[in-house]
Amino acid sequence: MTGTPTRRRWASRRADPAAQEWAGDTREFDLVKELLVALVVVGVLCVALAGLFSSPDDRPITVARWAKAAPGDFVATAVTELDGTSRTASYGPPYNSFPGAGQELGPLPLQRWGGVRARVDTAQDFVLRPLREVPADPVLTGALSEWSSAPAAVQMEWATAYGDAVAKAPGGDPGAVAPGDYGPVPLLMTRLLGLGQTGALDGLLVSQDRFYATDYTKPLLFLADGTYLEDTARAQNLGGDQWGMMNETGSWPGQAWLWLYTFWYQVKPFSTSDNADALVWGLMAVLSLVFVCLPFIPGLRSLPRHLGVHRLIWRQHYRQVEGPKRPAES
């Protein structure tokens, strides 16, 4: 072929048989009718499925419901928020700058690169600030002063000791905790539990002095730090190690298209790695790129030809072009 390399490439592309205008046999077809028929067929299917099976709508778990159904778990969680040992308190970005926190993708500390853009101070936001809103409770006010005037090391001792005692109490019942030196922590927790059970804590966590609120970061993080939300989810096989990403509440079909994303969490090294989320995201990003760029990847782009399903799809065409087959031909 003559011409510059670019011209030769363009020329060879134009000569690609699959790129030519089709000038062979054609048939009539009606694009608009096809779309309307499709709309009717899919519409009927949709109405039938919606009428037969409806859709799930499990009630959300409020902080009030959590505090009433599992007061031990509520208090145990609240103590870890106070002493900064909860999952959220030690999460790192985007909620806080806990030292050393944050997953890495190989050498890349991507989580830390995201920065702290949704700051949460668990002790203040989940415990102390809501308690300060309680009016006309001098005993509580005294306990809050005792807490805030104590050195950090003493605060930590009180909270840790109380957290351990709640864990050892029969049934995790905060009312059955063994006597000990817990400072004002038991009173703070009892008041917070009461606030939670009335529903006031739901409002205080989400409004944060604003009237209109659409950001549920704080109440959701608080709920997720406990076990009640997770236990409820695991009872319906929604946990990460239960292929939960694919599942739906009740007996509705879920999101089968997430099968490959959730698969990695079931196998090593992901299932035992501290960086599992970052590793799975990285891997799925690469696989998605392969999927998008399939036409340009040698080997993969030739796979369909070898698989041969196209011979079934275009069998009418091949019968016409190749003529009747001898029995020996495949």
């Binding site: 046999d25 054609t26 048939r27 009539e28 077809f29 009428g51 037969l52 099976f53 409806s54 799930p56 709508d57 009630r59 009872a235 319906q236 096989n237 239960q242 292929w243 694919m246 599942n247 739906e248 009740g250 007996s251 509705w252 079909p253 879920g254 089968a256 079931q266 196998v267 399903v309 079934l312 799809i313 009418q316």
Partner: protein, 56 residues
Amino acid sequence: MVSHRLLAAPIDLHRPAHYVHWGIVQISVPNLIVVGLLVLVLVLAVLLPFPRGGGR
């Protein structure tokens, strides 16, 4: 939760799903049905004869 009354769905899917276990794989029966239907419909679409006609 909504009180269904007259518009209640005839098939109640509020109960927990059954699961099929195979090695590390765990799939809900509803999802398995969907995947099975996907494969079945693809196979049928490839194999079922398509009406000829309207050609020139």
